[in-house]
Amino acid sequence: MRITLNSELKECPDGLTIERLLDLYQIDKNRTAVELNLEVIPRKEHSKRTLKDSDVVEVVTFVGGG
């Protein structure tokens, strides 16, 4: 299946959870927040939420700012 991760199209195995997606791209789970199709997904649900084709995932973190 194909998902959009931070605006980039990615080919992913079917049945991938958010947690596994973050692992796949070596993203620190404790220092990020995840949005799936514009809905914030609480961290504790990452292992349960399975992605499907055409999903749009945004993963954000803190950066320097004023």
């Binding site: 605006s7 791209y25 927040a33 949005e35 514009l38 961290r43 945004e58 803190f62 320097g64 004023g66």
Partner: protein
């Protein structure tokens, strides 16, 4: 020795209260645009700040270093901003993501009007404040120095009103002291000058006017020596605060001798 202790006790300031939070330092410092992360870390330390602002952005895939590697979250309260948002809807979305980071329910709400001025959009800012307050956020809100908007934001439940001294990153200082004074007259929540501060005296002026604090970033981060400037800002903030609390002498047009004028 006892006298020294008593003097120190007497000049101890009350804490700055924002919602359920309390701070000793009245200087809030941004984490953007430093020459390096190590310089940022040293500058934050030199500033004595207890509250640091951060922005929310997409992670770079395969880049494992993060800002939080350089910020001790036990030492500093994290204040995420909604910088770069141009509507209430966008700002609320960023605030939700910021809260999901699990570090802070404080949000520095910024809803901008356009890219050239980076001035706030007052209508969208009020709208976003109302919604985020209802959702339980501790909202500190960036606004212009308009006293009426400041009041409306307070009515909407903002825990702190943060008027710009001058446009963001402009380093022009407090351009309209009169408006800041009018805001202060009726404010029931802490007023913190946010943006426009270029150098130490700008911070002092804000504090002498009676502001409860100052938030700045570029003034420190882009100084030739950010660490030294951070210390200057700390001292300026304390100086201005104490000058405000002590009650300055009125300004006079003519001289008034300090030494006795008779009995030579």
């Amino acid at each position: 020795m006892l006298v020294a202790v008593e003097i120190e006790k007497r000049i101890e300031d009350k804490k700055l209260k924002i919602g359920k939070y309390e701070f000793t330092s009245r200087l809030f410092v941004g984490t953007g645009k430093y020459p390096s992360m190590d310089v940022m870390k040293e500058a934050l330390d030199a500033s004595g700040t207890e509250v640091v602002t951060v922005a929310i952005r997409r992670v770079k895939i395969n880049d494992t270093s993060t800002l939080l590697d350089y910020i001790d979250t036990k030492k500093y309260k994290i204040l995420p901003n909604t910088a770069g948002c141009y509507s209430a809807e966008e700002a609320i979305r960023v605030a939700h993501l910021a809260r999901e980071m699990g570090i802070s329910d404080m949000i520095k709400l910024e809803v901008l009007g356009d890219e050239r001025t980076l001035l706030p959009d007052p209508v969208e800012t009020v709208k976003a404040t109302q919604i985020l307050v209802k959702e339980g956020f501790t909202v500190l809100v960036y606004t212009s120095d308009d006293p009426i908007i400041a009041r409306k934001l307070e009515d909407a439940g903002a825990m702190s009103v943060m008027p710009a001294g001058a446009p963001i990153g402009s380093g022009q200082g407090i351009l309209n002291k009169n408006n800041i004074r009018i805001i202060l007259e009726s404010a029931r929540v802490p007023v913190i000058v946010d943006a426009g501060v270029g150098t130490a005296s700008d911070v002092t002026i804000a504090m002498e006017l009676g502001c409860e604090g100052v938030l700045l970033n570029t003034g420190i981060a882009h100084a030739k020596d950010p660490v030294l400037m951070a210390r200057a800002m700390k001292l300026a903030c304390e100086s201005g605060r104490f000058a405000f609390l002590s009650g300055r002498i009125p300004k006079r047009l003519y001289a008034k001798a300090s030494s006795p004028e008779k009995d030579f």
